[in-house]
């Protein structure tokens, strides 16, 4: 057999493998889900920029063992270093991270803030946080934007508040204010 023909056969084998690979991948739903509020929050786990890990399910499971006062409200903030709306809201996020939220009866509630990077990379994220401050967990969702897609995030910034029972309490599109974010948090 000539070199050309063996090359062709090799190419054919690789092609078959390629097609099989494509054919066996599950399809992921990229359909936007705009009725997120009131529904169970899509679970996710991801690495943080500092090498740690965040798993939403862990927080929600831990919540079940706690009395309501100690249960954690999670704010998931989708941001990007290239997005200026994110710079605008950053002070408000810092306030939320540092001061937390208070119930209508004046009790301080347990809150947790995680940021999810949207179309961004570690270098720029680090630079962003060096410049504007903040030491909460930042998750890399680079390239896949899986988490953002599950939460129907069109562009940064968007923020989702998840109640201790795992339901989405609210979704704020665009820059948040501290008041907007904490309104309705009870414990």
């Amino acid at each position: 057999m000539s070199l050309g023909k063996s090359g062709l056969i090799l190419f054919a084998v690789v092609s078959i493998g390629f097609v099989v690979l494509l054919a066996t991948r599950g399809t992921q739903s990229n359909q936007p889900n705009f009725d997120l509020v009131g529904q169970p929050a899509p679970l996710f786990q991801a690495e943080t920029v500092n090498g740690g890990e965040f798993d939403l399910e862990d927080v929600l499971i831990a919540n079940r063992a706690l009395i309501p006062k100690d249960q954690v409200w999670v704010a998931v903030n989708f941001f990007a270093s290239w997005c200026t709306g994110c710079i605008i809201e950053h002070d408000e996020l810092l306030a939320f991270h540092n001061e937390g939220a208070f119930s209508s009866n004046g009790v301080k509630c347990n809150t947790k803030l995680v940021s999810v990077a949207f179309n961004d990379n570690k270098k720029d994220i680090d630079r962003f946080f060096d410049k504007y401050g903040g030491d909460w967990q930042v998750l890399l969702d680079e390239g896949t934007n899986r988490v953002a897609i599950n939460y129907s995030v069109m562009t940064a910034p968007e923020t989702v508040l998840i109640a201790p029972n795992g339901l989405v309490a609210k979704k704020i599109v665009g820059p948040i204010t501290y008041e907007k974010l904490v309104a309705g948090i009870e414990c």
Binding site: Q28, C83, T144, N145, V173
Partner: protein, 652 residues
């Protein structure tokens, strides 16, 4: 009503495509030319079907006929007229309809153009191939991507309208159709490549026939991609124009193989080299358009831009596999005839440079394909999800880009067969000085950093080489020195050089800042005084626009934010102050709540950015020039050659 007319159009196209291909095949088998001529006529029927469907869809969109699901989901009574027309390509089903229309259009033009050459089996087989592809797209429109599904709108129903990002810029109306003219146009050279394989006439005939078709498709694809980048730059407001998103990569992949083909074709025409390679490149280009559509439409890759809709994925993958199988089987079958008549004598020759060019473009395409599908490979083998981001693509494409610029300088001065060192030294003297000069100028105006400086040097080298070629040609042929394949090609090269300068400078020397400004307040940025003057609110039918007036060095820019009524989505509308040396883009991030309150703006300054778009226009212009025959004499030579090739092939 629109629904019935539209569906009928699709059915008509399917029926005409199938009948047309079967009639021509029958005509071929029975050697009856009359049958083939009748078969070819069905191309017009297929086109008429698509034209009717498009008319029905446009009519439905314009009259807001919400009894069609597509219109109900994508249209809106609030969408302005121009974007109403463009809504046809704002989602999957309508895009496939546009694809079908363009494809049937090409089919009809090919049938018309070659109506006096139907005795040639190659033309007949090419038509059969195009009929089959058209039939597949008509099938898609009857199956998983049906644009004419019915919908029962509740009383008072109004659709959401297309994504707000797709209705605030004029380029949305032009970028997709032009891109499709290119994307779909590669079906023509593909069809002739298949026909050449089937008829066994693997000489240079099919290349000469499809030359201008390939060039036209390539030019449209080039321009379409650049318009897309321009749109992103103008709309998104953070100075970006390319994000290596799977959707963008899908348009770049066939462009890369198409560009490689435009070059390697010359080596076959002149020296009969690289026959299998050229066939493979044409087929790969076509296959990559299908693969790209599969990747972005099947949902196998998660992307904010790739929306999976319905079950079109498996259909596209089946079609991709089928075409791949047919191509491989045909090449295997025709293996003996595909052997080239000679080899490359020396690496230092025009054909050697073309080969190197092809390796560079091939590597480029491979790197991008790999990056795009790598997440799938990892997911399949390691059961975890990863992603490949822009840094990978930038790191990989930069050195390949430099190699291509370098080859662009060397190749035009190389003679066919073999070049001596003496000759090279002589011919490359001016380009080398040009490269050095551009490097020195870059340093003098303050450019720093090894990689951008290298880029400027290579760009100057390549640019001067193209100018040298043009200057010599104009001295010989006066105004005709601008036209013809190689001269037009050199103008395309100049466009590429401009585009490269724009890309390198604008990505290496970005400066960006955001400011909070009270009315009347002035800040300085990059040496310019920037003053916030006033603001206004304008209410449109589908959106509310918050507009501010910013004075920058005497000019007034009016960036705005638009809030779309239907979705509540905020879309910034940045404005750009463009000059030949730099672009300053201002985006309004936070509009004033009251007239006298402060605003937040983001300012992005990027040097030489406008040259990306200028380069795109020059590439388009150069492509047009290269389609004009350079001299009368040369054309007769080509025709003689074509007919002799034809005769030689018939003898076999």
């Amino acid at each position: 009503m629109n629904l019935v007319i539209g569906s009928m159009g699709v059915v008509l196209t399917l029926a005409a495509s199938l009948t047309g291909s079967l009639t021509i095949v029958a005509g071929l088998k029975k050697s009856r030319e009359r049958l083939r001529a009748v078969g070819a006529k069905y191309a017009w029927v297929a086109f008429a079907g698509m034209a009717i469907s498009t008319f029905a869809m446009q009519r439905a969109l314009v009259t807001r006929d919400f009894s069609i699901k597509y219109v109900a989901e994508q249209g809106s009574s609030l969408t302005p007229p121009l974007y109403n027309v463009a809504t046809m390509w704002s989602a999957l089903e309508g895009s496939i309809l546009l694809w079908g229309l363009v494809l049937a259009g090409y089919l009809a033009i090919v049938a018309k153009k070659f109506s006096n050459r139907l005795s040639d089996p190659m033309v007949s087989w090419a038509l059969v191939t195009m009929f089959m592809v058209t039939a597949f797209f008509a099938l898609l429109m009857l199956g998983p991507a049906n644009p004419f599904q019915s919908f029962d709108p509740p009383v008072g129903y109004d659709g959401p309208g297309p994504n707000p990002l797709l209705q605030n810029h004029i380029l949305v109306a032009f970028h997709p159709p032009i891109l499709y003219l290119g994307y779909v146009g590669f079906t023509v050279p593909f069809a002739f490549a298949i026909a050449a394989l089937i008829t066994g006439r693997l000489g240079e005939g099919w290349l000469l026939i499809t030359r201008r078709w390939t060039l036209f498709s390539w030019a449209c694809l080039t321009f379409g991609i650049i318009l897309g980048a321009w749109w992103a730059y103008d709309v998104l407001g953070w100075g970006g124009y390319w994000g290596w998103d799977p959707v963008e990569n899908a348009s770049l992949l066939p462009w890369l193989t198409g560009t490689a083909f435009l070059h390697s074709v010359l080596a076959q025409e002149r020296r009969g080299l690289l026959r299998v390679w050229n066939l493979s490149l044409v087929c790969s280009t076509f296959l990559l358009t299908i693969l790209g559509t599969f990747i972005t439409r099947s949902g196998i890759i998660a992307s904010v831009h790739a929306f999976s809709e319905g079950g079109i994925g498996p259909w596209l993958l089946w079609f991709f596999s089928l075409v791949l199988l047919v191509v491989l089987a045909l090449i295997f079958w025709r293996g003996d005839r595909l052997r080239s008549q000679g080899g490359i004598d020396s690496a230092l020759s025009r054909e050697g440079a073309f080969l190197a060019n092809n390796l560079a473009f091939g590597a480029f395409a491979f790197v991008i394909l790999l990056g795009t599908i790598f997440p799938l490979i990892v997911e399949a083998t390691q059961d975890r999800q990863i992603s490949v981001g822009a840094p990978y693509f930038e790191k990989m494409s930069m050195p390949i880009g430099f190699v291509i610029l370098f080859l662009m300088a060397i190749a035009p001065v190389l003679p066919w067969r073999k070049a001596g060192a003496e000759l090279l030294r002589d011919r490359l003297e001016w380009p080398a000085w040009g490269g050095a000069l551009s490097l020195v100028i870059a340093v003098l105006v303050g450019a720093r950093g090894l990689i951008p400086l290298l880029g400027f040097g290579f760009a100057g080298f390549a640019g001067t080489s193209a100018i040298r070629h043009l200057a010599l040609s104009i001295r010989r042929n006066k105004m005709r020195g601008f036209v013809g394949r190689s001269n037009g090609g050199m103008i395309v090269h100049l466009g590429v050089v401009m585009l490269s300068l724009g890309l390198i400078a604008s990505s290496s020397y970005v400066s960006q800042s955001s400011f909070t400004l009270d009315p009347g307040e002035t800040v300085t940025f990059g040496g310019a005084d920037i003053t916030y003057e006033s603001s206004e609110q304008i209410v449109y039918s589908n959106r509310i626009q918050e507009k501010v007036q910013i004075r920058i060095d005497g000019d007034i820019l009016q960036p705005s934010i638009e809030r779309f009524t239907a979705s509540g989505q905020l879309v910034p509308s940045p404005t750009t102050k463009t000059s030949s040396t730099k672009d300053i883009q201002i985006a309004l991030l936070d509009p004033p709540e009251e007239d006298d309150q402060s605003i937040v703006i983001q300012i992005t300054e990027q040097p030489l950015l406008v040259w990306i778009w200028v380069g795109g226009f020059v590439m388009l212009f150069g492509s047009a020039l290269s389609a004009i025959p350079s001299t009368k004499r040369k054309q007769t030579v080509v025709m003689e050659k074509e007919s002799s090739v034809h005769a030689e092939e018939i003898e076999r």
